[in-house]
Amino acid sequence: MGKKVQCDLCPTECVLEEYQVGGCRTRINKGGVLYSLVYGKPCAVAIDPIEKKPFFHFLPATRAFSIATAGCVLGCKFCQNWQISQAAPENTDTKTLLPDDVVRQAVFYGCRSITYTYTEPTVFYEYMYDTAVIARGRGIRNTMHSCGYIKERPLRGLCRYLDAADVDLKAFTEDFYSRICGGRLRPVLDSLVVLRAAGVWTEITNLLIPTLNDDMAKIREMCVWIVKNLGAGVPLHFSRFFPHYRLKDLPPTPVQTLTDARATAMEAGLQFVYIGNLRSDAENTPCPGCGRVIIERAGYEVKQNHLRGDACRFCGTKIPGVWN
């Protein structure tokens, strides 16, 4: 029997015996060497508006070539893509699409960016990394939607080619991460700090689940942490929960909870707080200087954009983001 190996990609740090597959279902020890099972094997490929990721301060109204493989480093009971995130790659319909081809297709379809999304991109790190290197060389931006559950070293390596990240900050308690997701909060917070320090444009998504993470005191604590450690200009998206996967017994998030959370976040000092999975004025970007709407959205569509360069057209206030 071969040697054991330890995966150093995510904080779970799986120690794998010969022929054992990691908790993410995508990495295997064969002959004392760790291999990825999902390189060049996406199970989801699509072209989406960048607003769907959601990125509201990154190349608005552009298209993102989006890819995912099977697998995840967490096991969230509310996962909205559990059919692929909680599946093994050998049990998933995949196609072969090597990094070169991903970039070529992104260029062909006029996408300004490639997004590594739907499942957790950490599980297809090598595939994402190689694609990102090629994309950077072709002038295509790289973005990911991630749970942020990745160790510092691989994240720093990726940051060299990553332009933006939307990180799911699922709650602000270790108890929630442990009971509902099978992970820990601390590494996610550390990842957010690393991303910000590395100059990667960062937005945060928080799915509000009734009774599990909708305590306003905790939401306030989370927002204060964001302002203090990442800055007031980091966009925060409160997303509406709908019953999924193993949390089908809970109702959708009440609209009042979402508006209360948004008010709490703005009181804590965050300048750009949005509500997702719900049509409302909270999809728009108001200027913190003059208060007028500078980007008006309806769902994933940008209706009006009043930015001139990176500033409000009406009052000249600079708006944080990557606008071109």
């Binding site: 054991k4 330890q6 295997i28 291999y35 990825s36 090598e126």
Partner: protein, 67 residues
């Protein structure tokens, strides 16, 4: 009809044989049968469900040998 001495010898032999078997089983369980069983299951799964389906392996980044 067996003599009592013969019966005693037979009982002793069977007892010793049973003890040896129990000790051997314990030793093997302790030092490898469980590992071997797990290894065979994993190997079979790999051959049938991963390699058997033609899935490629790509050397991973960020790992190390474990002591």
């Amino acid at each position: 009809m067996m003599h009592d001495t013969r019966k005693g010898r037979l009982l002793l032999t069977l007892t010793i044989a049973l003890m040896v078997l129990v000790l051997a089983y314990t030793a093997l369980t302790e030092f490898g049968i469980a590992d071997m069983e797990g290894y065979i299951q994993r190997r079979l799964y790999y051959e049938r469900s991963i390699s058997g389906k033609g899935m490629d392996l790509h050397k991973a980044m960020h790992w190390r040998e474990s002591p």
